[in-house]
Each structure stands twice: as structure tokens, then as C-alpha cells.
């Protein structure tokens, strides 16, 4: 599984949870993203590793030229978790559109193969 596929699946699940208003799915996704962000053990890599025993491309990018050693993909996980979680809090209902936006953005990133957030993070200097 590639990051593209993962983003599509993640986006679909998020949109599904929002549409059906199943809060458990939302929390589960937040939990998954936090897990990935904290441990840097990402689902696409783990699945690829399990399937073929190969290392995921995240390691191949280890030597790229960047200001920070923190990976953009990890940061993306934290940001997505934050954007989805934030409207759930009391007083933040006004930004109810944000999880929807994130959900569709994840699907779009998966379909187009280009994630503007990751690009922005890399532009900032993350690996």
C-alpha cells in the first residue's frame, strides 16, 4: 500500500464517519493518526513490509536535503488528527467544516498523487 492509497482510504473513512455521524470512527481515525505520528510506524509502510519484506520509501528519503529531521508525513498525521479533533471540542463547532475539508483533501491527495500539505511542510523544511 502506498501513501496515495492510504490517503484515499483514510479520507473515505473520515467522510463516512462524518456523514453517518459515527463519532467512534472519528476517534479511531484520530487514534490511528496519532499512533502513526508518535511511533513513525505508518500503515502503508507496515503493510508493504508485511507483504514483500521491502522497506518503505520513507527510509529511502532519509538522505534528502532538509532543515529538520522530522518527517513531513509524520507531521501530516499530527495535523490531520488535530484538524479532525478540534471541531469536536466545545466551542469549536464553528469550524465544523474542517474535518470535511480534511476528508475530501485526503481523498483528493490520494487521487491526484500530490498532497499540498506535505509539500508545504517539506517546503518549510521537514524531511
Amino acid at each position: 500500500m502506498s501513501e496515495r492509497h492510504f490517503r484515499i482510504v483514510l479520507g473515505l473513512w473520515l467522510i463516512l464517519g462524518l456523514y453517518l455521524n459515527i463519532i467512534e470512527i472519528i476517534y479511531a481515525l484520530i487514534g490511528l493518526l496519532l499512533f502513526e505520528g508518535i511511533t513513525n510506524q505508518r500503515i502503508p509502510g507496515l503493510i508493504t513490509k508485511l507483504r514483500s519484506g521491502k522497506k518503505h520509501s520513507q527510509d529511502q528519503q532519509a538522505g534528502s536535503n532538509s532543515r529538520f529531521s522530522f518527517e513531513a508525513e509524520r507531521a501530516l498525521r499530527f495535523l490531520v488528527a488535530l484538524f479532525v479533533f478540534l471541531p469536536l471540542l466545545q466551542g469549536f463547532e464553528i469550524i465544523w467544516l474542517l474535518p470535511w475539508f480534511v476528508g475530501f483533501a485526503l481523498i483528493g491527495a490520494g487521487l491526484s498523487g500530490i498532497c499540498p500539505m506535505v509539500k508545504t511542510l517539506k517546503h518549510i523544511g521537514l524531511r
Binding site: 467522510i15 462524518l18 456523514y19 455521524n21 465544523w96 467544516l97 470535511w100 475539508f101 476528508g103 475530501f104 483533501a105 481523498i107 483528493g108 487521487l111 491526484s112 498523487g113 500530490i114 499540498p116 509539500k119 517539506k122
Partner: protein, 781 residues
């Protein structure tokens, strides 16, 4: 650049299209959705209010006409509630529900809107309409979800389709062009841009393909021209190296590689000045590299003729060298070209020629020409720096004996060996030369006369100790040495050489095999110098026809007026018009082997005189004096024979006088000479008889016609009986041998009469006539 295009997904065209189109559309779409959702609450409330109003109006207008609700009200309410998303509709009167409609939707939280409907019957109380909706927030939430799902899905689909189309229309052909460009850049010349498309990419592809083809054609032409130029350069017999404008090697032809020892691949890009060292042949000092000057000054530089190229292996190759700038059409410097040619053979030949021109081929010593230069240089240094140098002039004694007895090969060998010996004891600064024959000269630089004498003595001793062996014969030679210190009084090398020559001659005259030092006030040397001065005058006279022929009559002793014979005498006319007597210049001429030339001049002019005077007098004869040198010269004999034939002369009118000494020195040769000319009818007289060897034996062998008795016997003939007896005896012998006698120095009439009495045939002397110009005296006497 190529790598960036292929790998950097952040900047490629696809990414940009995606970012701009897809994400732009996405964000705009969601923004638009946000705007739509912003008014959804107000719209829902208004819609609900309107729904309540609409239901109330329908109930009022359709169902209260009779003043009471119709039976079909429930069906109507059910239809309305279904279409207007209403959960429940109640009609109350007096707080009593009179009609009730409820949808199947279950909801816990609801909101109600009430409307009062006036009854058409004034007596009845108005109805209250209560319309119950689901909770407003739930409705809004559902509507948002529906809108977002639909809009998001449409945007995603539309974005993907748009991206796909744009990528197909723009990105794909562009990417193909980029890939083609990459392959062309990587050297795949078979690649072409797809020019079959009819859009802008097709136009661009055709344009680029044409441009590339033109560029390739030009490149091919340039390559062919370059190939041709390189082949031409490779074919040239000279070494050629081209550099860029910084002097770094770009090209070398095979000749340059061979001469330098470096291959082009080995030195390409290196500084030419570091690779090819040029040095001066004589000093081995580095020469300024012509390519440096050429590039610095942008003009052609020719290098010094003594240039030597240092080969890679360290060997030296003489070369001629030049460098020229390579310029473009605007005279801007592009680089330089150095052309050099191996001149080893020419340089060797030149050195050999130079050596031969300056050295004696037999001994390897300097020759006269080179020595003259050295001497002049030393002389100028002596005058300028007041340094003392000494010239040592050496003439081998008895060398002619070696040549005559052992042959010229032996003489040459002797000279070679002696030259080697002479060189051994000398300093490096001393200059030894062979001036010619057996004459050597040694220039002792920075040497005073005392030390020079010691050197000369050593040489003298060394030569005296040297015994030359040749085919079992031992020969020994001596040396006469003349020394002269180079002083300011000498004008040039010729004067110095003349001075040492005089000193050497003096040494020879003093008994040979000794040393004589030249001094300006030396009497012998002064005499010798006068002789040499006279030799110069003789040479001038010969070349400038400055001699004059005088003649003295020889008369019969029986009749003093009977004059048919004249003795020709020579005089040297000076610039002042005075005459120098032969006694002054003939000895010098004899010493310097000029007698044959003088005799030739006399013979030539005597014959002219005979021809010219024939009109006045054609029965006279002329007596011409010949020297021993002329008699011994076979060329001179031929000269006389040729001249007699040339002038068509009656040879019997010519009498040649030869001295007793000259004839006897080479008697056989003299006899042959006399016989040859006598065959042409020439006469001969033996001059000065009685004072020389005076052997009648010689007289017997010499076939002469006249015997000239020396004046020493005649001068006192009138008073000296012995002289008279001797003259009488000589005359008797001569008469018996068939000769006629001539008496010289007849200074008075009495002697003349005595001579007649004795029987002498002819008389000559001042009493008869003094010598005078030949043409004049022959005419007058």
C-alpha cells in the same frame, strides 16, 4: 538540468497542473460550499415559516368555507406533511385536537410553529395550527452533509477528469518532448520530436526538429572542416601545437609528439610552457617561450636561431621556432599556434661549416681568418683595458726537408703531431692557430713578455726534443719564434702579425731555431720592415703598372756608334715621379717570391717596345734580365713562348740574361730553359760572370751566346794587369766556345780601347751611355 526535469516531482509540469487545476478547483468548490452552507439555517427557518403559513392558508381556503373542517382535511394534511418534511401537523380548537397528521419519521427533538386560523363562522372559535418539524440543527446538519457529499464528490470527479484531460493535452506531449530532449542531449541523434501533431506542440516539434537538423548539418560541416584541418596539420612535416588563449595545449600533430616525446592525450589541457621547454643552445639557459609573447602581444613571434627543444627524455633537439596568434574575424585572440622544425642536420652542417671556416682542416687549430679576429679582439682589449697580451709567431725550420725527403703525407703528419704537442702545454685562454704552411701563431692573453719568453722557450725546447718517425726515417725540425707584445702602437692585427713575422724572420736570419723579440727600435727589424714596405710598393707597381723600362746601349768595341743591342733595366716610379733603383726593391721582391711577376711584366713590355720601335729601328736586339725564380718556373717558360707567338716576334732579337748564380742553383732546369727558348731562336747571355762560382765547368754546360764579364774586372782594367789578364783569359775561353763577350762598367775611353785590343766584342757602361727611358734611348742612340 535533465535530472531535475525527470526526478523533481515538486517542480514538474504535472505537479503544477495538479496544484493549480485540481487543488484550485477543490478549494474554490469547498469555499463555494461554505458560502452556500452559511445561509442554510436562515433558509430553513424561512422555509418552515412559509410551510406553516402555506398549510394555514390551505386549511383556511379549502377546508373552512363551510365554517367547519371538511372530511378530507386529513388526507390533505398527510400529503402536505410528506412533501414539506413535516413531522406532525395538529389542528386544535379550544385546546382540543380536532385533526392530527403525523409522519413516520421518529425523532426525539422537535420544534413547532403555530398559526391561528380564523373561522369563517364568527360564532366559532378560531383554529390553532401546530406544525411540528424535526429539530432545526438536525435538519441543517443533514442538509450540510448532503450538500458536502454531493459537492465534494462532484468536485473530486470533476477535478480528476480535468486533471486527466489537462495532463493528456498538455503534460503528456510536453513530457514526451522533454524525454525526447533528454535522449537527444544524451547523444541519441536518431531521436526526433513528434512533429505529426497538428497543435502547437506539433509546430514546436517541427521547428525544433528543423533547427536541430540545421545545427547538426552545421556541426557536421564544422566537424568535417575540423577533420580536414587536423588531417592537414597531421600531414605537415613541421611540429605544430595549438593552444587556447591561456596557453593550454589543445592539439599536437604527430611530428610535434615525436619531437617533444609527449602524446597529445598526455598533455592536453596542460600549459605549453610547462611541457615544452626551450633553451639556448650555447648556454642552456631557458629561452622566453614564443607562445607567451605571442598570446600576450597578439602578434607573430620568431624565436632565436640557437633554440633547442628539450625532449621528454631530456635530450636536446635543435629547432627553429615561431608562434602566431589564432584570431577570429574581429581579430579577437582565440589561441595560439606554435610551429617548430627539427634543424638538427642543418644546425650540425652549419656548425661544421662554421668550424671549417674558422679552423685549419689539417691540424684542427684556428685558421688565419679566425685568428685575425681573435687578435683584433685582443688588441682592442689591450688598448681599452691596458691589459698585456703577447703574440708568438712560429715558423718551423727544416720543415721543407721533411716534405722533400719523406713526402707531403709525412709533412702533414708532422704538423698534426706538433699541433697536438703545442696544445698540451697551453692555458685554456691561449689561442693557437696555424697560419699556413709551417707557420703557427700563439696568442697569449693576459701575459707579460717575460712569461711569454718562457712559454716560447718551452715550445722551442719541446719542438727541438720532438723526433718525428716516418717509415723508419727520423726527422727533426726546429722553430724560429718571433714575439711581440700587443701595444697601442699597433693599429690592427695585420701590423702585429707583420711585427712578429719580422721578428721571426730575424730569428731565422740570425741562424734559425731561436727566439727574437720585436722591439720598435730594433735596426734589423727596421731594415726588415723597409723590405716589407718595399714589397708593398712592388705589389702596388705590379697592379698599378708603375714600373718603367730603362735601357743601356751595348756597343761594339770596334765602333762605339755601332749600337744594335740594349740591355733593359727596370725602375720603380714613385708617386713623386722619382725612380727607385732595382738595387732597393729587387732583393725584397726576391725574398717574397715576386721576381717571376716582375720578369713577366718586363718581358711583356719589352716585346711591346720591340714592336712599337720597329718602325724607327728594326735591327736592334734587347737583353732582358731573368731571375733564378723565373728560370725555375715552368709556367714562366710557357709564358715567354706564348708571348713570342702572340707578338709574332723575331725571337732572335731577344736575348735573356741570366746570372751565373741563378743558373747554377738549378743547373739542369736552367739548361732545359735555355735550350727550349734557343729552339725559338732566342739568345742567352751569362751575366756577371767571374764573381760568382765562376766555374768553367758550368760555362761548358750552359749553351749561352754571350758572356757578360762582371764589372768588377772591368772597372780598373786600365790600371790593373791582373784584371786585364783575367778578362783576356775569359774572352779566349768564350771565343773558343763560340760565345761573344760583353764588358760591363766601361767608364772611360781607355778601357774601351783596351777591350778592343783584348778582343772583347761589346762594351757597356756609363762612358758609352747612361741608362735612360728605353723608348727614348732606342730612338736616339
Amino acid at each position: 538540468m535533465n535530472d531535475n526535469i525527470s526526478t523533481d516531482t515538486d517542480n514538474n509540469l504535472s505537479t503544477k497542473i495538479t496544484m493549480i487545476v485540481f487543488w484550485g478547483l477543490f478549494i474554490i468548490g469547498l469555499g463555494f460550499a461554505g458560502l452556500l452552507l452559511h445561509d442554510i439555517e436562515r433558509n430553513t427557518i424561512e422555509r418552515r415559516e412559509a410551510s406553516a403559513d402555506t398549510i394555514a392558508y390551505r386549511i383556511y381556503s379549502t377546508h373552512l368555507e363551510s365554517g367547519s373542517l371538511s372530511a378530507s382535511i386529513k388526507d390533505e394534511l398527510t400529503r402536505i406533511s410528506t412533501s414539506l418534511d413535516i413531522i406532525k401537523i395538529e389542528i386544535q380548537q379550544n385546546d382540543k385536537i380536532i385533526s392530527h397528521v403525523e409522519s413516520d419519521v421518529e425523532t426525539q427533538q422537535t420544534e413547532s410553529i403555530s398559526r391561528s386560523i380564523q373561522n369563517t363562522s364568527a360564532k366559532q372559535k378560531p383554529y390553532t395550527l401546530v406544525v411540528t418539524f424535526s429539530k432545526l440543527e438536525d435538519t441543517i446538519h443533514n442538509e450540510r452533509k448532503q450538500l458536502l457529499i454531493i459537492l465534494g464528490t462532484l468536485l473530486l470527479i470533476f477535478g480528476v477528469i480535468l486533471k486527466f484531460l489537462l495532463e493528456r493535452i498538455l503534460n503528456k506531449p510536453m513530457t514526451e518532448m522533454v524525454l525526447t530532449a533528454q535522449e537527444i542531449s544524451s547523444g541519441d541523434v536518431a531521436q526526433k520530436f513528434d512533429d505529426e501533431r497538428n497543435d502547437e506542440f506539433g509546430f514546436l516539434a517541427r521547428f525544433i526538429n528543423t533547427a536541430i537538423q540545421n545545427m547538426r548539418n552545421q556541426e557536421l560541416e564544422a566537424y568535417q572542416a575540423k577533420e580536414f584541418a587536423e588531417v592537414t596539420l597531421r600531414s605537415i612535416g613541421d611540429g605544430i601545437v595549438t593552444t587556447d588563449k591561456y596557453g593550454k595545449i589543445m592539439f599536437m600533430n604527430p611530428v610535434a609528439e615525436e619531437l617533444s616525446g609527449y602524446l597529445l592525450d598526455e598533455v592536453s589541457g596542460k600549459q605549453l610552457t610547462d611541457v615544452m621547454k626551450l633553451i639556448c643552445e650555447g648556454t642552456n639557459n631557458n629561452l622566453p617561450h614564443p607562445i607567451e609573447g605571442c598570446l600576450a602581444r597578439n602578434k607573430i613571434i620568431d624565436i632565436d636561431s640557437d633554440c633547442v627543444l628539450v625532449h621528454k627524455d631530456g635530450s636536446h633537439i635543435p629547432v627553429t621556432n615561431s608562434a602566431a596568434p589564432i584570431q577570429d574575424s574581429k581579430k579577437q585572440l582565440l589561441g595560439g599556434i606554435m610551429v617548430f622544425h627539427d634543424v638538427s642536420e642543418a644546425r650540425t652542417l652549419q656548425q661544421e661549416l662554421s668550424y671549417q671556416a674558422s679552423h685549419d682542416h689539417l691540424t684542427g687549430l684556428y685558421n688565419r681568418r679566425e685568428f685575425d679576429q681573435e687578435l683584433n679582439t685582443a688588441l682592442s682589449h689591450a688598448k681599452r683595458d691596458k691589459h698585456e697580451h703577447v703574440l708568438c709567431y712560429m715558423d718551423l725550420d727544416q720543415f721543407k726537408v721533411v716534405n722533400d725527403t719523406c713526402g707531403h703525407a709525412a709533412g702533414d703528419m708532422l704538423l698534426r703531431k706538433l699541433s697536438k704537442k703545442l696544445k698540451t702545454g697551453l692555458r685554456k685562454s691561449d689561442v693557437l692557430a696555424r697560419l699556413g704552411g709551417d707557420e703557427f701563431a700563439l696568442l697569449l692573453l693576459h701575459c707579460d713578455i717575460e712569461r711569454a719568453v718562457k712559454v716560447a722557450e718551452n715550445i722551442h725546447q719541446m719542438i727541438n726534443d720532438f723526433i718525428f718517425q716516418w717509415e723508419g726515417t727520423s726527422c727533426q725540425v726546429g722553430v724560429s719564434i718571433g714575439l711581440a707584445s700587443l701595444s697601442h702602437t699597433f693599429k690592427d692585427s695585420a701590423e702585429v702579425l707583420a711585427a712578429t713575422d719580422i721578428a721571426c724572420y730575424t730569428a731565422k736570419e740570425e741562424g734559425r731555431n731561436r727566439i727574437h723579440i720585436y722591439q720598435a727600435d730594433d735596426k734589423k727589424l727596421t731594415l726588415r720592415r723597409e723590405e716589407m714596405s718595399m714589397v708593398g710598393k712592388v705589389r702596388e707597381a705590379l697592379s698599378g703598372n708603375l714600373f718603367e723600362l730603362f735601357a743601356q746601349p751595348i756597343v761594339s768595341t770596334s765602333n762605339v756608334h755601332d749600337c744594335k743591342h740594349y740591355e733593359l733595366l727596370i725602375r720603380l716610379k714613385t708617386e713623386d715621379g722619382e725612380y727607385i733603383s732595382p738595387a732597393r726593391f729587387l732583393p725584397a721582391a726576391e725574398k717574397y717570391q715576386l721576381m717571376t711577376e716582375i720578369d713577366s711584366w718586363v718581358v711583356q713590355n719589352a716585346f711591346h717596345l720591340m714592336i712599337d720601335s720597329s718602325q724607327q729601328k728594326n735591327d736592334f736586339s734587347l737583353a732582358i734580365n731573368l731571375s733564378g725564380q723565373s728560370i725555375n718556373d715552368t709556367k714562366f717558360l710557357k709564358f715567354i713562348v706564348d708571348k713570342i707567338a702572340e707578338f709574332n716576334l723575331d725571337a732572335s732579337r731577344v736575348c735573356f740574361e741570366i746570372t751565373e748564380t741563378a743558373a747554377i742553383n738549378n743547373l739542369d732546369h736552367a739548361i732545359d730553359f735555355i735550350k727550349t727558348l734557343k729552339e725559338l731562336s732566342c739568345k742567352f747571355a751569362l751575366d756577371d760572370f767571374g764573381t760568382g762560382v765562376s766555374s768553367f765547368e758550368y760555362l761548358k754546360r750552359l749553351p749561352v751566346d754571350y758572356l757578360k764579364i762582371d764589372g768588377a774586372f772591368i772597372k780598373q782594367l786600365d790600371s790593373n794587369k791582373i784584371d786585364r789578364a783575367m778578362v783576356k783569359a775569359i774572352n779566349e775561353v768564350a771565343v773558343i766556345m763560340g760565345m761573344k763577350t760583353i764588358a760591363e762598367f766601361v767608364e772611360n775611353e781607355e778601357i774601351y780601347k783596351i777591350l778592343n785590343d783584348i778582343g772583347i766584342h761589346y762594351a757597356q757602361g756609363y762612358w758609352v751611355s747612361k741608362p735612360d727611358l728605353a723608348s727614348k734611348i732606342i730612338k736616339e742612340y
